[in-house]
Symmetry: C2
Subunit: 682 residues, 2 copies
C-alpha cells in the first residue's frame, strides 16, 4: 500500500482539465511539471487531449486499474466516480473535490457514504476536500507545485492542506527536505493515524527517519499511539501539532474540518506515551524537524560546543542553552591553544569559540578540524553560527561547513543569521543539501525539545500480589459506585495497601489488634458517629484504648468499636479517569490544597511502566514536599511508583472502571496507605 | 546632542581609506553610498582624493569641528586622534577601531584613558570596538550598508554591533523600518543607558515611538530605569534583551565585551519597573517591534477578530491567542450575514472568518470593510492571515490590506505565510510600507508580550504613620545586625505591626495586658527559656495565665514574665536586599516550605507603588493559599500591600540597609503581624 502511495506505477486523474485554475487542471499540470515515470491516465467526458496527454472519456474505458486515482470532479459526481473506480479494482482513491462535510450535515452524510463504499471495496480513501499527495516520485497535489521533494527526506502527514504548503515554504527556505506530503482532508474514512499505520506497515531500510504530523482531531488515538510507538522503535522519530485544544481553537477547528473538542490533558498524555514531540506552531515543527535532519539519529546529549563569528548572538545562544538545561563546557587548554594558533588576537577561545567577523573559509576549515578532532568525547553537539560581515566570501565558509557536517563525529547544527546579505551563498548551501536555523535561540529550544522528547516506556504486564482473577470475581455484575467494602477488596487484590482495621464487640480483643499504634477508635451502631462523640483519634497505648472503649460503649446504641490504624504523613492523591478513545488517564498529585488550589497534578495513559510512573512523580512541582522538608521523612518514591503501576494495570484490565480515586493516600517512607477510595464502574 | 547624532551637519572620518576591506574605507563607502547631505571630511596622512572625496592630511587642518567624528585608525593612534579632535572642539566621537578592552587588561587601561580624555572635554564617546551609527540621514557604520532607514522608524541601541546587523536583516525581510541604529561597542565612556538618556533628552514630536535595546551588561541601571520610564511616559515604548544572564551566557559575554555576571532577578525587576518589554532572542525582539509598528500606539485590549484564507493556521492562531489570555469572540449574527453575502459557501463566518483560498482582492476589500465597520466597538485588534494558493493575485489582496491598515479604526496585524510563492507581492507590500509576521503563533505571543507589558507605577512617597524622622534617629550610628529591640522599633516607626508584648514583674499586671488572647508566656531571667520549660503557648484565659505565671516564677532565676500576643494564621515572608547599582530588591512570598521548597517568591525594585505591590502579591503561584482555602479566612491583600509599600519606603530612605527580613509575617484578615524580623545595615 505504502509503495503505491509513494511510487505508484500508474496515476489516474478523474476530472482532468485544461483549465489550471480548476483543481483537476492544476493537479494534472503539477504531475506533468514534476515529471512522473509511470502511466498517467486522464479522464474527462470530452475525451481528446488535455495538457498534451490523451484523455479517456470515462473510467471504465481506462486500460488498467490505476495504483492511485485522484478525483477532482464536482461534489455531486464524486460518488459515481468512486463506484466506477471500485468496479475496475482501484485500491487508493483521493478525493480532492470540496463541498462535503465542511458545508454541513448534508455533506457529512454524503462523505460518510463515500467512506462506506470505499471500505466495502477495500479501498483506501483520502479526502474529500483534500489537497492530495506529493512525493519524491510524483506531484499529485493541486497546490504547491514549486516544491522539490527528495527521497529520504521528511514525511509530512497533515489534516490541513494549507498547513502543508505554508510549513513547507518556511522549511524549504531553510533547506529542510521532504520525502512526502500527504493530506487527509475531511478524513471521511482515513485520518492521520490511519496513514501513519500505512507508513509503519511499509517501513523499510530506505524509509524516512523523520515524520511530522498536523491534526485538528485525533480520529483514532489508539492507532496513533500504536503507529507512532512502532515507528519510533524502528528509528523514525515523530513530531506533531494537535491544534484546536483551546475554546477558540476548537471552535475554529470545528468550522474548518469539523473537529470536536478533546480534553487537552488526554492529548498531551497520548503524545507523551506515543513518544511524539509535541509543538504548537508551524515554525516550531520546522525547527524540530531541522534538528532531526541535522543530527541524523544522534538525539541525546547535553554538552554543546559553539563556534561563532559574532559575540552577541553567541551570548544569547549560550544563555538559552543554559536555560534549557544544556551545558556549554569551556574548551580545555589544548583546544584553546590550538584555536589561538589559527585565530587572530581578540578571538574568543573559551566556548563559544568566537572567530570574529574577519573569518574566512580556510581558517574556518582549520577551526572545524580542531573541534572535530578534540571535542568528540567531551561534547555531544556542535552549534555553528555565522553571519555575513562582508569581509569574506561566506560561500567559502559554508562549503567548509558542508564538508564538516558530513564527516564530523558529532552532529553540527548551523544557524545562519544574515538572511539577506548571504542570500546567494545560502542558496548554494541549500543546493548542496545544507539546512540551517535563522535564529540561535530557536535552535536551542528545538534542540531541547528533541533531547528532552518523551521516551517510549514498556508498560508493566503484572505486579507481585496483583490478583487479576480475584478482582475479576469482585467486579462481576458491579455497576455504579462500588461499596466501600468492595472498593477496598478490589484495591487490596490489586496490591494497594489500606490501613489496618478491625471490628470488635469484645473489649478483650483490643489486646490482639494486629497493627501498631496510633489508633482511631470509632463507635459502631450509632448512625452519626462524630455527632455523638463516637470518633476518637490519637490513641497511643492499650490503657488509653481500654479507657476509650469504656467511654464509647456508653454511647446510646453502641454495638462495638471499629479500631483503625491511624496514618500520619504526607498526603497524595492517585486517580484514573476513562477518556473515550484514549483509554484511562492516570493522575498523580499532592493531596489537599496542592491539587485543589495549585493544580499540581501529572497525568499519563494507562498501562504504565515503572519508569513512566516514576517520571510522573518526579514531574510534580511540589516534588520537594513529597521528598520531605524540614527533617520530615517524606514518602518513598518507589512505593508510590508501584501503586501507580498497579492502578494502571487495574484500569487497563477492567476498562468498565469509569472513575477511580484514591484520596488521600498517606504515609511516611514505604508505609503508604490508601485512607479513602472510590471506584465507579459502568 | 541627539540632533547631531541623528542629523549631523558635518561628519569627519579619521582614517578614511580607499581600501573598503578596512573599517575606515568601508565606513567612507557607506556614507557616500547612502548619500549624506552635510559636509563630509576625510582625514588620511597621505591627503589627496579618497573614493572621489578630498582628504585632509591631519585633523588640525579640518576647516571646522565636525558634528560627528569617527575614528578608524589602528588602536595605537586612537588616543592622539581623540586629543586632536578635542582640541578643535569636536563633541561627538565614535571609535570604530578594535584592539582595546576586548584584548585584555592593557587595552582596558587604554580605553579608560580615552574615556577620561573625552569626559574632560565634554565629548560623548562611543566605542571603542564599535560598528558606528546609522540613521535616516547618514550611514556612519562600517557594516551593513544594505540597510535603508526611514525617518520615524524604530531606534535600536545596541551593545553588540553584529546583533544590530543580524536583527536588522530579519526585521527588514518583514518590513520593519528603522529610524536609527546606534552601537556602543566596549562602552568605555557611554553605554546603552547613556544613549537612551540622550534620546530621551532630545525627544520631540517627530521622534520614534519605538525603541529596542540589546545589552550584555547594564552599565548604569538607574539611568536605564529613568530614561526608559521617561520615554515611556512620552509615548515611546522600549523593548530589549539583556543577555549574559546564565552561567554559560555570562562567560560568553565576558569574553565578548567584558560584561560581568549580574543577578538576573535584579535585571528582571529593573526591566519591569522601567516598563521595558524583555525578550531573550533577536526574533522575539523583531516580533515585539513588529506589533508595536502595526498597532501605532494602541497597545491594550484582549478581543481579537481574525480574517484568514486557510483553516489550519487559523486554528493554531486561535489556540495560541486563547493560551495567551486573549479572547476570540464569535462574530455576531449581523457580521455573519454580511460576510455570507460576499464569501462563497464553505467559508467560515464565525471568527476566524475563513475566506477560503479562492479569495481575491475585490472580495477581500469587502470583507475588510465589513469588519472595519462592525468590529470597532467589540474588538481590539484584527489579525489578518494570508497564504498564496496560486488561485488569485496576492498583490491585489495586499494592496487592499495596506489601504485597510491605514484607515482601520482598530489595528490590523498581518501574518503572511507563503514566504516563497508570495515573494514578489510581499516585496511590493514592503515597498509601500507594509510589515508582517511570517508565523501566526509568534504573532500571538508577541501581541501578548505587548498587551501584558510591564506597566509604569508611581511609587508612594509616604504612608500614614510612617515616621521618617524617628527611623532616622533610631538608625543613627547603627552598624551590622540591629538588636531585636531596635529592629522592632524601626519597623514600628515605619508602620509595621508586631504582635503585642509586655514585660511583667507583677502578677497583677496580667489583668491589664492590652491585647487579646491567646497569649504566649515566656519566663524572663533564665538564659535558655525553652530548655527549662519557660515558654508556654496557647494561653486562652486569665485563670490559665495566672496558673502559668505561678509555674513559671518557680523556675530558677525567674525575674518576671514576658507576655506576647500569640498570632495564628497564614505565614508570608517579606524581605529586601540591596543590589549594587539597582537599589533594593523587595521580596514577597508565602512562608515556610513555599519559599524554601517551591521558590514561590516575587521581586520588585523599591520604592513601590500600591498597585505595584499588589501585582507582586497577585503574581505568586500560591495566591489561592494566601486568599484562604477550605474555609480559612486567608490574609487581606491590601494590608499586605501596605506592608510592602512601607518596606519599600524604608529601604529607599535608608539605603544603608543591606538586608531586611520579616519572617514570618503572620495572621488572618487585616490582623497581620510581623512575628520575627532582622535588619542588617552597613
Amino acid at each position: 500500500m505504502l509503495k503505491n502511495l509513494l511510487e505508484p506505477k500508474s496515476i489516474a486523474v478523474i476530472g482532468a482539465s485544461e483549465d489550471v485554475s480548476k483543481p483537476g487542471g492544476r493537479l494534472t499540470k503539477n504531475i506533468l511539471t514534476k515529471g512522473f515515470n509511470g502511466n498517467l491516465y486522464l479522464v474527462n467526458p470530452k475525451g481528446g487531449m488535455i495538457q498534451g496527454v490523451k484523455a479517456y472519456p470515462s473510467i471504465p474505458e481506462l486500460p488498467e486499474a490505476p495504483d492511485l486515482a485522484l478525483i477532482g470532479v464536482p461534489a455531486k459526481f464524486v460518488r459515481a466516480s468512486l463506484e466506477e473506480l471500485a468496479a475496475i479494482g482501484s485500491k487508493i482513491v483521493v478525493v480532492l473535490s470540496a463541498g462535503f462535510g465542511e458545508l454541513g450535515p448534508e455533506g457529512k452524510k454524503e462523505e460518510k457514504l463515500l467512506a462506506e463504499i470505499a471500505t466495502k471495496h477495500g479501498i483506501l480513501l483520502l479526502g474529500p476536500n483534500c489537497s492530495g499527495i506529493m512525493t519524491y516520485a510524483h506531484a499529485s497535489k493541486f497546490t504547491g507545485a514549486a516544491f522539490n521533494l527528495v527521497r529520504g527526506g521528511i514525511d509530512f502527514i497533515s489534516g490541513s492542506g494549507a498547513t502543508v504548503d505554508f510549513l513547507a515554504e518556511h522549511a524549504m527556505r531553510r533547506g529542510l527536505t521532504f520525502n512526502s506530503f500527504l493530506t487527509v482532508g475531511n478524513s471521511a474514512q482515513s485520518g492521520v493515524p490511519d496513514i501513519m499505520e500505512i507508513y509503519d506497515d511499509g517501513y523499510g531500510p530506505d524509509s524516512s527517519k523523520i515524520m511530522i504530523t498536523y491534526q485538528e482531531s485525533i480520529v483514532n488515538p489508539q492507532k496513533f499511539l500504536k503507529a507512532a510507538r512502532s515507528l519510533n522503535k524502528k528509528g523514525c522519530l515523530v513530531a506533531g501539532i494537535k491544534a484546536g485544544t483551546t475554546q477558540a481553537g476548537s471552535r475554529a477547528a470545528a468550522s474548518h474540518t469539523g473537529a470536536m473538542a478533546t480534553n487537552d490533558t488526554a492529548v498531551q498524555a497520548l503524545f507523551d506515551k506515543a513518544g511524539v514531540i509535541r509543538v504548537s506552531s508551524r515554525m516550531e515543527l520546522v525547527d524540530v524537524a531541522m534538528i532531526l535532519q541535522c543530527v541524523k539519529g544522534r538525539t541525546d546529549g547535553k554538552r554543546i560546543a559553539i563556534v561563532t563569528d559574532a559575540g552577541g548572538p553567541g551570548v544569547m545562544l549560550a544563555d538559552e542553552l543554559n536555560r534549557q538545561g544544556f551545558e556549554v563546557p569551556p574548551y580545555n587548554e589544548r583546544i584553546r591553544q590550538r584555536l589561538a594558533e589559527v585565530l587572530p588576537p581578540g578571538a574568543g577561545l573559551n566556548n563559544p569559540a568566537d572567530c570574529l567577523p574577519s573569518i574566512n573559509g580556510p581558517v574556518m576549515e582549520k577551526v572545524l578540524n580542531i573541534l572535530m578532532e578534540e571535542v568528540k568525547d567531551d561534547y555531544d553537539f556542535i552549534v555553528f553560527m555565522m553571519g555575513d560581515s562582508g569581509l569574506s566570501d561566506n560561500w567559502e565558509i559554508y562549503r567548509v561547513l558542508d564538508d564538516a557536517m558530513h564527516k564530523s563525529p558529532i552532529p553540527i547544527i548551523p544557524s545562519m543569521v544574515s538572511v539577506l546579505s548571504s542570500e546567494v551563498p545560502l542558496r548554494k548551501f541549500r543546493e548542496v543539501g545544507g539546512c540551517y536555523f535563522e535564529d540561535e535561540v530557536y535552535l536551542a529550544r528545538a534542540l531541547s525539545r528533541v533531547v528532552n522528547r518523551p521516551k517510549i516506556y514498556e508498560p508493566e504486564s503484572g505486579a507481585v500480589g496483583y490478583d487479576r482473577v480475584k478482582i475479576s470475581h469482585l467486579m462481576d455484575d458491579q455497576h455504579g459506585a462500588l461499596t466501600p467494602q468492595v472498593t477496598r477488596e478490589v484495591l487490596q487484590a490489586a496490591g494497594v495497601r489500606f490501613p489496618g482495621q478491625i471490628e470488635l464487640t469484645d473489649k478483650a480483643g483490643l489486646k490482639n489488634v494486629p497493627f501498631a499504634f496510633p489508633w482511631v477508635l470509632k463507635v459502631m451502631g450509632p448512625l452519626h458517629k462524630s455527632d455523638v462523640g463516637g470518633v476518637r483519634v490519637n490513641i497511643n497505648n492499650l490503657s488509653d484504648a481500654e479507657k476509650t472503649w469504656d467511654e464509647l460503649m456508653k454511647i446510646k446504641d453502641a454495638s462495638g468499636v471499629l479500631v483503625q490504624q491511624m496514618v500520619k504523613g504526607t498526603e497524595v492523591i492517585i486517580g484514573a479517569n476513562r477518556e473515550e478513545g484514549y483509554g484511562h488517564l492516570v493522575a498523580f498529585g499532592l493531596g489537599g490544597i496542592y491539587t485543589e488550589a495549585l493544580k499540581d497534578v501529572q497525568f499519563a495513559l494507562a498501562p504504565l511502566g515503572k519508569e513512566e510512573a516514576g517520571r510522573m512523580i518526579q514531574s510534580i512541582r511540589s516534588l520537594a514536599l513529597l521528598k520531605g522538608v524540614r527533617g520530615e521523612p517524606g514518602m518513598d518514591l518507589e512505593t508510590l511508583q508501584d501503586i501507580l503501576v498497579r492502578i494502571g494495570l487495574l484500569v487497563t484490565d477492567f476498562p468498565s472502571i469509569r472513575e477511580l480515586d484514591l484520596n488521600p493516600v498517606k504515609g511516611y517512607g514505604k508505609d503508604i496507605f490508601t485512607v479513602d477510595a472510590r471506584i465507579i464502574v459502568d
